[in-house]
Symmetry: C2
Subunit: 322 residues, 2 copies
């Protein structure tokens, strides 16, 4: 939950007045999102999200994120559309921060997704991958395999305080992933953070996908691997194959997986688990006392990682090889 920046009254009024959205009626800081400050704005013309980009977002990446949302919206993906101000700008500054006004998407994120939600999410992810194919910009994934070792080095000191032997386990896992990370699989723009809180539903259909601030170019199947971790485990971190099967079938029905992608899924899923384990480990030891966001338990991703390491073949995720 996060509102890091207070907006002075006059600045907010003037900011909203620079868009053709009617008069400012209300502005509430919302307790979701970890990276940025988000406000739900009501104006005479409807509801919007105002995002102030905080220090974890590199301003140089913002044109990619904003452009991607515009592109996906144009392609019919239900995602926030950055609003253009009277001077034609989508990326602005407010309260000393880069800022954007984007359309508000109605919908509820599902705390406990069922297989039907997973199937719907799989289809939507595949549609998003296809819709992004002709997006002209590119952004490398700083949190993919080559980025993990430096991240680990910065978080290593605390690893064994989370769990004895964790440092050595990660070291070994990293070496294995670096040696075996797949080459030559289909690439494209991935969301890279498609957790349930970033997917809104209405009447069991997806009404919106939000939070494109980790989007980047990477293996498309790596996005699926992230979702295997994010959607297909129960609260006790037991793997739910029914949800995984539903998600993979949903994805496959829109964009059929290539055999190489299918085969790589267990390794990619280990990588995805390690990626979230590492960032959580880093945050666990680098979150200031009194911070507004509680760091999340890295241990949950260690359990996921160990599960995926035990997987011999992607068929154990519930989908047959084609």
């Amino acid at each position: 939950m996060a509102v890091y920046t207070e907006i002075p009254d006059e600045e907010l009024e003037a900011f909203i007045a620079s868009y053709d959205v009617g008069e400012l009626l209300s502005c509430k800081g919302i307790a979701e999102g970890v990276e940025n400050s988000n406000f739900l704005i009501h104006t005479g013309k409807g509801a919007y999200i105002l995002t102030l980009y905080e220090k974890r977002v590199d301003p140089a990446d913002l044109p990619f994120f904003i452009g991607l949302m515009q592109h996906l919206s144009e392609q019919g993906v239900n995602c926030p559309l950055p609003v253009t101000d009277r001077e034609g700008r989508t990326l602005r500054e407010l309260a000393g921060r880069p800022a954007a006004l984007i359309t508000f998407l109605e919908g509820i994120w599902i705390r406990r997704p069922d297989p039907g939600h997973c199937a719907e999410m799989g289809r939507a992810m595949a549609r998003m991958h296809l819709a992004a194919e002709n997006f002209g910009q590119r952004r490398d994934n700083a949190l993919s395999v080559t980025g993990w070792r430096p991240l680990f080095e910065s978080a290593r000191a605390g690893a064994d305080t989370v769990s004895a032997g964790l440092g050595a386990e990660i070291d070994k896992e990293l070496a294995a992933l670096e040696a075996r990370w797949p080459q030559g699989l289909p690439q494209g723009v991935i969301h890279a953070d498609l957790f349930p809180d970033n997917v809104f539903f209405l009447h069991d259909k997806i009404s919106g996908i939000i939070d494109f601030y980790f989007a980047c170019n990477d293996l498309l199947a790596y996005d699926i691997a992230i979702c295997l971790n994010a959607w297909c485990f129960e609260i006790d971190i037991s793997f739910n194959i029914t949800k995984a099967r539903a998600m993979l079938r949903g994805y496959n029905s829109v964009r059929p997986l290539e055999p190489g992608e299918f085969d790589a899924l267990p390794l990619l899923a280990r990588g995805a688990a390690l990626r979230f384990l590492l960032t959580r480990l880093y945050d666990w030891h680098n979150t200031a006392d009194g911070a507004l966001v509680r760091p999340k338990d890295p241990g949950e991703y260690l359990k996921r990682l160990r599960f995926h390491r035990s997987v011999k073949s992607a068929t154990e995720y519930g989908l047959d090889r084609h």
Copy 2:
């Protein structure tokens, strides 16, 4: 900023469906309010606030708060109206907490009120006091003069760590206030927490007063004393007589102050400053590490208290005695 309780998906759906408000479209935890969990809800019929009452609110007090909002709304005060469900109930339970759905009020709270805002607030407070005159319920103020000493005893140990000699200063102040607290002044229902973040404006007019969860029966002039503290100091805790004059004139134009109320203002303002000093002192030493709400600096209210102690007559607040 606060969302303390997560609401399970199905419970939220069923809860909203039990009201005649149309379908649930979205639900965002909002990062305002310290005592309770608040969600901004969009439905087919508009916007609402869903409040889950957390442990600092005594459930036995909820009928008073809910009833007061209903009463004030009926009297034309712009305040949230508790929505009645299909079975005629306004007070419900959700996610194991007492809960209420109330109407959403558009408007912006003013971070830096100017004298015009203070005048408007003074008038609105007086109208609220008059509107509450025939409200049938009663709730004693646990945070008035008789409640301060026990609160101080529970927070005393930490006082001197905030500021050397603070314990002794509070002790002396408490004794003075207990001895001289006024008797016989007009009583009624007061808001008791009318800080700028609880007053919404649109076009420089008040569009709503919210957060009645400290409302109680007490001296009406004590509410004014709270507002002298809450609205009439600058960020550096210098007193702004122009704002105080505007607020007092505004109040007086709707409900003329009695001479005894006028004379008591400096003492009441000391009491109000002490009340917030004590609760902040308590929170300062009793907020768990990792809590979602940062405790506020008690020192700001010590400065206010010392200012009011230096005031010889209420004329120093900018209003002449009548």
